[in-house]
């Protein structure tokens, strides 16, 4: 007989249910890990990204020999870690002579690699090197603003991809309601050249301006670095299509015949079906309008027509039969 495995404790069950696929997803978790060798710069980059995303990230500190995201067979243990930690974003750091200070940012779908972007880190400035008023320091888990500057993010395929990945990496959870008092951080990305992006993290200070919208002031708090795009892998087209699916339950059906007007409010159109004059009830019915009579008359006419048709038909049939017989007789003679 079929055996099934269920968690032994309620806590384990709850934990498993948290990982199940759901209609509306929470924010993606991020896994930070590195290869056999890392540089000081890269260690700092990984820890600082971890600090930026501390509410929703897992950081591994051991070396990983067999992770090579771009090579086939090198993604197996990465996918396993993604499954184990339930992370669908990963940042992988490695340092080699060929690719110094290498950062691979990738996403997974269904715990399989979805897409990859490889970046070189240059001119890194850590958070500690910035001096600012600590009272404006961004809080963990606050919803960030994004500012993307430069035509490269639209025209250049690699940067366009990078923009999407960076947005996915840092945006956190999609929320329905936002507390405006909690806005305190901005990520600024500028496409300086076709392969180079300037990335920096700023704190936000809201200043009074006299009207409802406060004046924004950005204070650089770091980390700040230049990202040079090296290799990248776009998602498979069929996989992309599947990953972009929206649940049919969530899509709103278009409401027919209802429109909204700023002055008049909700306006509805009502369609009245054609009036059936024949079946309308009248206080006085003349003889001709009465249904029984009308119907009887119609029936009479129909009957007559049928009879006449039948007669004609019979005659025509007879004629044809006679003709046939004559022919047969002729043949036999």
């Amino acid at each position: 007989m079929l055996r099934i495995k269920t968690p032994k404790s309620l806590r384990a069950k709850r934990e498993l249910e948290k990982r199940a696929p759901r209609l509306v997803e929470f924010g993606k978790k991020t896994l930070l890990l590195h290869g056999t060798k890392t540089s000081n710069v890269l260690n700092a980059v990984l820890t600082e990204i971890y600090h930026l995303k501390k509410d929703n990230a897992v950081k591994y500190s051991r070396r990983n020999d067999n992770i090579r995201p771009f090579e086939s067979g090198g993604e197996t243990s990465l996918e396993f870690y993604s499954l184990k930690t339930d992370c669908s974003l990963f940042v992988y750091g490695s340092h080699s002579k060929k690719r110094p200070d290498n950062l691979v940012i990738g996403r997974t779908y269904d715990h399989h690699i979805y897409d990859l972007v490889e970046l070189g880190v240059e001119n890194f400035k850590s958070m500690a090197s910035f001096s600012y008023d600590k009272r404006i320091a961004p809080l963990i888990g606050s919803k960030p603003f994004f500012a993307f500057i430069g035509e490269g993010f639209e025209n250049n395929d690699e940067l366009k991809h990078l923009k999407e990945v960076l947005l996915d990496l840092f945006r956190g959870q999609v929320v329905k309601n936002l507390n405006l008092a909690g806005l305190d951080r901005v990520y600024v990305c500028t496409a300086v050249s076709p392969t180079k992006v300037l990335f920096t993290h700023c704190a936000l200070r809201l200043k009074k301006s006299g009207n409802i919208v406060p004046k924004m002031e950005l204070v650089e708090v770091g980390p700040s670095m230049d990202l040079v795009v090296r290799r990248h892998r776009r998602p498979d087209e069929s996989l992309r299509k599947e990953a972009m699916k929206i649940a049919p339950e969530l899509t709103k059906k278009k409401e027919k015949n209802v429109s909204k007007d700023p002055i008049e409010g909700k306006i509805g159109k009502i369609y009245v079906p054609d009036q059936q004059v024949g079946s309308a009830s009248l206080p006085f019915k003349p003889k001709g309008v009465k249904r029984e009579r009308r119907e009887a008359k119609e029936a009479k006419v129909e009957k007559k027509q049928k009879e006449s048709e039948a007669k004609e038909g019979k005659e025509s049939i007879k004629h044809s039969e006679k003709k046939r017989k004559k022919q047969k007789d002729d043949d036999s003679v």
Binding site: M1, L2, R3, I4, K5, T6, K13, L16, E17, R19, A20, P21, R22, E25, D86, S88, R107, T108, Y109, D110, Y114, P144, F145, F146, A147, I149, G150, E151, K163, E164, L167, D168, R171, V174, K176, N177, L178, N179, L180, A181, L183, V186, V188, T190, V192, L198, C202, V213, P214, M216, E217, L218, E220, S224, P235, A243, M244, K245, A247, K325
Partner: protein, 338 residues
Amino acid sequence: MAEQQLQQDGYQIDIGNLMAYDPQHQFQSIPDKREDLVKECIAHATKLIQAVADNLFSLPSTEDASGPIVPLPPPTTKLPREKPLPKPAPPTKWEVFAKKKGIQNRKKDKVVFDEQTSSWKRRYGYDRVNDDNDLPIIEAKMTDEPGVDPFATRRSEKKQRVEKQEKNRLHNLKEASKVGALPSHVQLAATSLPITGTQAPPRKVSKDELQNVAGMAATSTASGGKFDKKLAGEKPPKHDKKYRKFLPVVEGSGMGSLERQQSDKILNKLMAKNSHEIFNVSKAVDMYNVKNDKKRKNQQGKNKSFSTSNKLKVKKSPYKSASKGSSKKGSSSKSKSK
């Protein structure tokens, strides 16, 4: 929805993600010092963020103790999901049956009043109403068989019901796993799969497939596996084609006529297949007519002389009889119609 991105001063604004993008900005001259470049970027980013904030703060807000709360529209930038959409579980066998019969779920109270103890007790579970285990005495009936323990039968019946329910439950789970809609905390032991993501079980490799692969590997050497070392218990590869058979060269007593039989068989097949072509109808009709004519002439001369071959000969004047039949038919139809 995704297409109508906000455009303001040439910026693309996605309020759901609090994102602004300026696709037009170009630096007049990229400064040599990085600090200057960053300063310029931040100055421009401030403008972008201000544009987002203009939109954001104009949304209708509700005041909360911690600050004004604004309803955010859904993000317009489409980003991929992390896991596939959950699949709806197929209806269980009972649900299908209930729907067919129009049975509806009715809520029952969790506690029921127990008249024996005059207290409220659970409907199911520990310390429940009408618990079989609580009965100290079962009254004997006339129909009871002697020597059968009524308590034991009750227990075994209960056990059977529980087992049946477990079987049904497993069946339903199996059906659900086929469409990949197993509850997330249930794992089929046979497949020991990850809980997250899809739950499609890996296909089991069949015995035949394994044998095929093994056979292919075994015969893929230069000698076709003839001189390879055999493993312990390894069988020689199966010969799944037909062996070629030759007929005996000399005609023996039993097998002698085999060759003739074979060729006969083939010929018969061919003839049967193409018989409609072999039979030339027009020629046959001609021959038949000629024969008839000859016979008529002979008969006129001989006048009723019987021969042995008379039976095989065709009856006289086939035309007439045919015409007679047709005329009869015609007349009958005439009379009917009249």
